[in-house]
Every structure is written in C-alpha cells, then in structure tokens.
Amino acid sequence: MRLLQVRRPWATEITPQDTEPASVRNPARALSVPFLAGAGLLALISIYFTVFQTEYNMYTYNLCLLAVLGALSLNLLMGTVGQASIGNAAFIALGAFGTAFLDRAGVPMPADILIASLATGFIGLIVGFPALRIRGLYLVLGTLATYFIVIYVTTVYESDTVGGAGFQVTVLFQSSGLLNGQRLWIWLLTVIVGLVLTGMRCIDRGRLGRAWRFIRDHEVAAPAVGISVYKYKLGAFWLSSLLLGFEGSLLAHFNGSVTTDAFPLALSISYVAMVLVGGLDSMLGAVIGAGLVTALPIVVPQLVTSLSTGDGSSSTGADLATVVYGLLIIFFMTRSPRGVAGWLETFAQKLRKGIRLRRQRVSPAADDGVA
C-alpha cells in the first residue's frame, strides 16, 4: 500500500472517496447536487459578467470559457486515462485551420464547426494508433513530435494560401456590435460549456470513466477483466482531440483570424498547467485551472504596472506571467498533486466532519435536557 502511494500519490489518495456506490452507475444519478450547484454558479458568474463588466473583461471571460473546453479534454487524457500529452495546441490549431478551410469553401456556420471538430477527432484517432504502443516518457516525446509536424503542415498551408497575414474567418455575432457581441458569446459559450460538462460528467461517472481509470492504474490487469485497452484508449484520444478541435473551431469564429503564430508550444504547456493547477482527474479542477491560467497573463501585467511606476515595458508582464506559470506547474506537481480541486475537497470534508461533530455534541445535550 505504501509503495502504491509513493508511485501514484493522487490515484491512491483519490480512490477511497472516489469509489462511489453502485447507484452512480445510473448516468442520470451522476448529475448530483454539487454538480448542479457548480453549473448554477457558472451561470451566475456568466450573468455577473454580462451585466456588470466591461467589454474587455467579457472578452477575457470568453477566453476562459473557451479554455475550459480544452482543459476538460486534456484532463480526460492526462487525468482520467493517464496519457501525458504536450501536443494539445496542435489539435486546437487543426480545429481552427479546418474551420478556416471550410469557411473559404463556403460552408455555412454551424456545419463548419461540426465538420472541423469531427475531422480533428478523426486525426486524433489516427495519431492515437501509434500512441497506443508507447507510454510515459515516450508518449511525451511522441506528442511533442506530433505538435511540430502539425504546426509545420498548418504553416505551409497558411503561407501557400494567404501568406503570413493569416486567414480571415467570419466573426459570429459581429453585426450586434462589440459589447452585445461579447454578451451573446458569453451566453453561447456558457450553454456549450454547460452541455459539455454534463456530457463529460455522465461519461466520467459511467462505465467509460471507470474503465479509463482502471487502464490508468492497472494497464496490464485491464484486459483480464474484459476491458479492451486499445478500444478505450483510442476512444479517449478521439474524444479529447474532438473537444480540442471544437475549441479551436469556436476560437476561429471568436477571433476572426487564424494564424499559426497563435498556437505556440507555450499554449500546450499552459493547458498542461491548467490541468495540474486544477488537479488531475477532476472536472471541477479543469474549470478552475482554465480560469486561473487564462486570466493570469492578463491580470499579472495589470498588477505589475500598478505596482511599479518605472519602466512601462509591456513585455515585462508577459515574462512574469511565464515565470508564474512555471512556478505553478512546479508547485502543484511537487507539493500538491491534487491541485486546487483537492484543496476544496479537503475543505469540504473538514466542513462536513465539523458539522457532524457539532451535531453529536448538540444531540446528547438535548437528550440530557429531556431526561
């Protein structure tokens, strides 16, 4: 037991509370009260941003919501299935470039998002086949190579078609003006994130989620109980790249332009940071991490400029944000592998324990009173 704990700290720490009773096998039961409360909170935050915030802050919030999709996808791959990947920016790029391609071909709005996401999912499936054979360190290297190859392809496509300026894509809600456009985007993305969260939660708490965790923890034993490692892993690769492609596609319609420069390797690493900050194998963690990491490079420069009166170089803030990213990754990996979600869980447990203790203390006293 001790040995296991050393090798996979989060897995064994999470497992005791995570093994939920058989009643959860009904997917509808997966939508528990805390989950619905969380979704409600997200809706409230969206209302707050649409009503009270400036256009720029709404833009930032939209970026956070978009990042949630990618973070959920990477959380599935890294947290639930245990496949470390640093190629995720490539799949976002594929979604965005697919949308640009379809947009130029004249495919109307919702169809191009759908086709681009499905195509990215398909490419993820193709990449997944060789990835079945490799794991651990080798998979990290393989995804790194995939990233560079995909980025090479998009660079060549971009420079051959439109040159360095990048593709122009029709912006959704452009006709409603800047402010209302951002507002409509918040509503659209809140609904999308809500739906994706619900879907992922049902998958996560059902048969698939259990099979994935089993593969993560005991890959050799999984086939012995009838879990096809190969099918489930491919499924995970497909679903996660589909989600990343979906995010990229929405991002293209949100920004209105698609360039390769928008998908550096640092973007991949920031998604890894989201999952680690939030906590591996936690959907709540992915949402929190996406918010924190996306807002960081926007908030840190503001803090820097408000703190320092001297040189107003804008790059200083971005550099500091990079440092903070790195420190967050190091801190959460080495000190707190269960992330912010783990803290919240511990806090909630203590709270529950405290309430129970108080009840116990109160009830004997009441009994005494009656006696």
Partner: protein, 291 residues
C-alpha cells in the same frame, strides 16, 4: 562532390552541436530518468552570462566561460534540489512536466533579465579559417567542434565506466533503493550528475553561441536534440553522439534538397519513426517488462 562535402561539413557542425546537447541530457537521464526540457534554458543561461560578462566587465573570455559554466551547473543542481528531488517515486512524466515548468520559469526570467536582443560571443582562439577542400568551403571550427564533442563524450563515458563516482551514478540510476542500501548517497550523486549535466549544457551553449548567436532560438535547438537522444537510445553516451550526427546530417540534407522549414520538422518525423520502429534506439538499454 562539393555539395556532398558541404553537406558533410554542415551536417557535422549541426550534428556535433546536437551531440553536445544530447550528451548533457543523457547524463541527466542516466541519473534521474528524466527528460530535461529545461536543457535549452541552461544553454541559454551560459551564453547570456558569457555575453554579459564580456560586455560589462571586460573580463578575459576564459574567466567569463569558467564563470558561466560554474553558474549553469549551480543552476542545474538547484533545479534538481529544489524541484526534481520532490518527484522521486512519482510517475515518470511528473518529473518531465516539472522540467517543463522549470523551462517556463527560465524563459520568463531570462527574457526579463537579459532582454530580447541577440547576443554575440567573441571568444579568442576560435579560428575563423575556412578551408577549401575540392571546391567546398569547410570551416575549421566545424572540425574542431566535432573533435571536441567526440573527446568530451569519450571523457564522460570513461568517467561513467571506470571511476567510483561513475559507478555510483550508474548504480543510483538503475536501482536507487539497492544503491542506497549499498552505501551510495543517492541524492548527492543525483545532484552531482545534474550539476555535470548543467556544465555540459553550458559548454554546448557557449560552443553554439561562439559560432552562431545567443537568443531564444537556442531553446528550440535543444528540443531538436530529443530526436538525437532517442535515436541513440536515451541512455547511451555513444548513442547520443551518433544520434546527434545522424540527425544533423538528415536536417542538413533536407535543407539542401528540400527547404529550411521541412528541415526543422524532419528531426521530429525521425523521432516518430524511431518511436514506432526502434523504441530503444540504436544503443539503448532494452527495458524488460515482467508481468
């Protein structure tokens, strides 16, 4: 004929650079089984330190080089002591992700501290002579660099094989628990090997900076050494040298007959192929999985 010679010369230069970079990575991997994504940042640090010392303090170049090597190896040792040490016993990719975090910190700090400008190193004793061999122009420095990486690799291999420290390092890398029971201070050995890997990174960074330029592109160069390392087999010193030369030759060949962009990505195509066909590389230790 001249194209072939140019290919050989340029390939040798690029390959020796990769070999030097991969040498440091292999040393760190031998000890802690970690792929070091922050190796490029260590190289960059050494380059910047030499450039700044030369520019600001007019120190003799050799003093600046020694200071840079010491500073970089201290930085690498600190990376191990402050961050990587805490990942002992966790899954392998945890340590890799931590080095990615370290790389991110290094990128930010160096961009902040040294600015975005390119730096050039002026080291005396670096020959600018260009030999003309049957029509092809071959820089003398290329040949020296190739020989130098080869000698350094031989030295590292000899130290690993025949000294007490080398033996301890191999033992600690293969089986930390058993090594510690045998009286090896595993943490000290790991720290020392990370410091040595940092020194090798500094040497690689300064060599590259002396013949080229010191800027952020060095970190991308270091990522390109992963294919070389994997081709050599991840944990083989000789493999790192051979892998580096092969990758350098392939990239040069692609840039001569194809284009520059394709050359940059060709090493990653090789990486994927090696992963699929030859996962233990040319000289790597085969991992035997017992179920």
């Amino acid at each position: 004929m001249s194209t072939t010679l140019t290919l050989l010369a340029n390939g040798l230069w690029l390959g020796s650079t990769y070999a030097l970079i991969a040498l440091g990575m292999v040393l760190a991997f031998r000890a802690t089984r970690t792929l070091n994504f922050a190796h490029g940042e260590l190289m960059l640090l050494a380059g910047y330190v030499v450039a700044k010392l030369e520019a600001n303090h007019t120190l003799p170049a050799y003093v600046a080089v020694v200071v840079a090597i010491v500073a970089t190896s201290v930085a690498a040792a600190l990376v191990y002591l402050l961050a990587l040490r805490r990942t002992t016993g966790m899954q392998m990719f945890v340590a890799v992700v931590v080095t990615i975090g370290v790389a991110s910190v290094g990128d930010g700090l160096m961009a902040w501290g040294f600015g975005p400008n390119d730096q050039y190193l002026r080291l005396p004793g670096i020959p600018g002579t260009v030999l003309s061999v049957s029509g092809a122009r071959v820089s003398l420095f290329t040949i020296i660099l190739g020989g130098f990486s080869f000698c350094l690799a031989v030295a590292v291999a000899l130290v690993l094989r025949y000294t007490r420290v080398g033996m301890r390092l191999r033992a600690a890398g293969q089986n930390p628990l058993l090594a510690s029971q045998g009286g090896v201070h595993v943490e000290r050995i790991y720290t020392a090997s990370w410091a040595a890997a940092g020194a090798l990174a500094a040497v690689a960074g300064i060599c590259y900076g002396a013949s080229n330029v010191v800027n952020v592109s060095v970190t991308a160069l270091a990522l390109n050494a992963f294919p070389a390392m994997l081709l050599g087999g991840l944990d083989s010193i000789g493999g790192a040298i051979l892998g580096g030369i092969i990758i350098g030759m392939i990239q040069t060949a692609v840039s001569i007959w194809g284009n520059g962009q394709l050359a940059g990505v060709s090493s990653y195509i090789v990486l994927l192929l090696v992963l699929l066909v030859l996962p233990h590389g040319l000289f790597g230790t085969r991992e035997v999985a017992r179920v």
